[in-house]
Point group: C2
Chain length 202, copies 2
DNA sequence: GTCTATATCATGATAGAC
DNA sequence: GTCTATCATGATATAGAC
């Protein structure tokens, strides 16, 4: 796909912005066109339908969500190091793309079967299986407390993702503005690592 | 709670079902009417606009999300007991209403200012302030490790909410069906309590 | 209160000039 | 490739009979 002009890229950037923020149902082709600095006619020239454009955006988004964790879980490093890497990389990813997790989780939920079948390869399932084994090994060595690896993985992801999905509510409850929220997020990197290590220590 | 089989209640039940599942943008008045066993004309007779109907549903949903935690944080009981109550009550609430957290967090995110101003009373802010004090007290007594009360509260909510928002992805990664997912959730009640206690112990 | 029919409008998509 | 103009559909909302 050797695309000539950069119009296609401008469209993809605009579509990502709008879809991530408003979801498939809330997004308007008109708004995407405006955001890209073109008109609807040209938008449909590049992507025949809203569905095809969405598909391109969603596919990239889902890939960005799962590729990192598959790779990290596969590494031959200690559990402690895996936690560090996952926290660092995903906090950074979601800081750059605050709407990414909500978008992916939402759209996945609307059409679970369709999307999952189309996009999920077996990588992440295999990576988790390997992770479960390495957790079991640490438990047997006595370096961490006994724990179901599924709950452990969910806990890590939960702690990382929630602030981005719950941001508006968080800012109200804590009475903080955008600047203070960013500070809270940056502190949270270290907090999550400490918290997980404390929970796991024998 | 014996549901009146009067028309207004049937509409509210149907609207809750559809709005919670598809959000404001994805919901169709036609579908709500069908779900309620009436037609669009009558639906508009009871609720003049889609906005008004949505407002009724969202208001109830947000209230169900925050009222419990405000009440629990206000109780004069130990931190340990508060954690127990929050985990028990919210896991039960979300088990009965699996789409509630996604719905509320999503819609809140789309119009943060508008909704927050209209619906949030100061209860939860005050409750959190009290919670922060009691956490500080436990830290000083040495019964728990030092921790930022904001992160602690976020951690509790994170661990509870995520499985419901991330359900489709979770089932794929762990390769489990609906029955096994329900079992995972029921185990998770105790897991979260143990995990939080382990992380907090001095 | 409840229904059918219809008005109004927004949006995805196409046609055709340049 | 890019634009303007237009179509076709579907959704909210209203009017009016019963």
């Amino acid at each position: 796909m050797v695309t000539d002009s950069n119009t296609e890229q401008k469209i993809l950037d605009a579509a990502e912005e709008v879809f991530h923020q408003k979801g498939y149902d809330g997004a308007r082709m008109q708004e995407i066109a405006e955001e890209a600095g073109i008109n609807k006619g040209l938008l449909h020239y590049y992507f025949k339908t809203k569905d095809k454009l969405f598909e391109a955006i969603f596919s990239m988004a889902l890939n960005r969500m799962v590729s990192k964790i598959s790779a990290i879980l596969d590494l031959d490093i200690s559990l402690d190091q895996k936690i560090d890497l996952i926290v660092e990389q995903y906090m950074a990813l979601f800081t750059r793309n605050p709407n990414l997790p909500r978008f992916v989780l939402n759209e996945l939920n609307k059409n679970p079967d369709e999307f999952i079948a189309r996009h999920f390869n077996g990588d992440i399932k295999r990576a988790f299986a390997g992770f479960a084994v390495s957790v079991q090994r640490e438990i047997e060595k006595g370096t961490i407390q006994p724990i179901d690896p599924r709950h452990l993985l969910m806990n890590m992801i939960s702690l990382i993702i929630f602030p981005f999905i719950g941001r508006p509510m968080i800012q109200v409850v804590f009475g903080i503005d955008n600047t203070e929220f960013k500070k809270l997020i940056s502190e949270r990197r270290e907090h999550i690592k400490r918290f997980l290590n404390a929970a796991l220590r024998p």
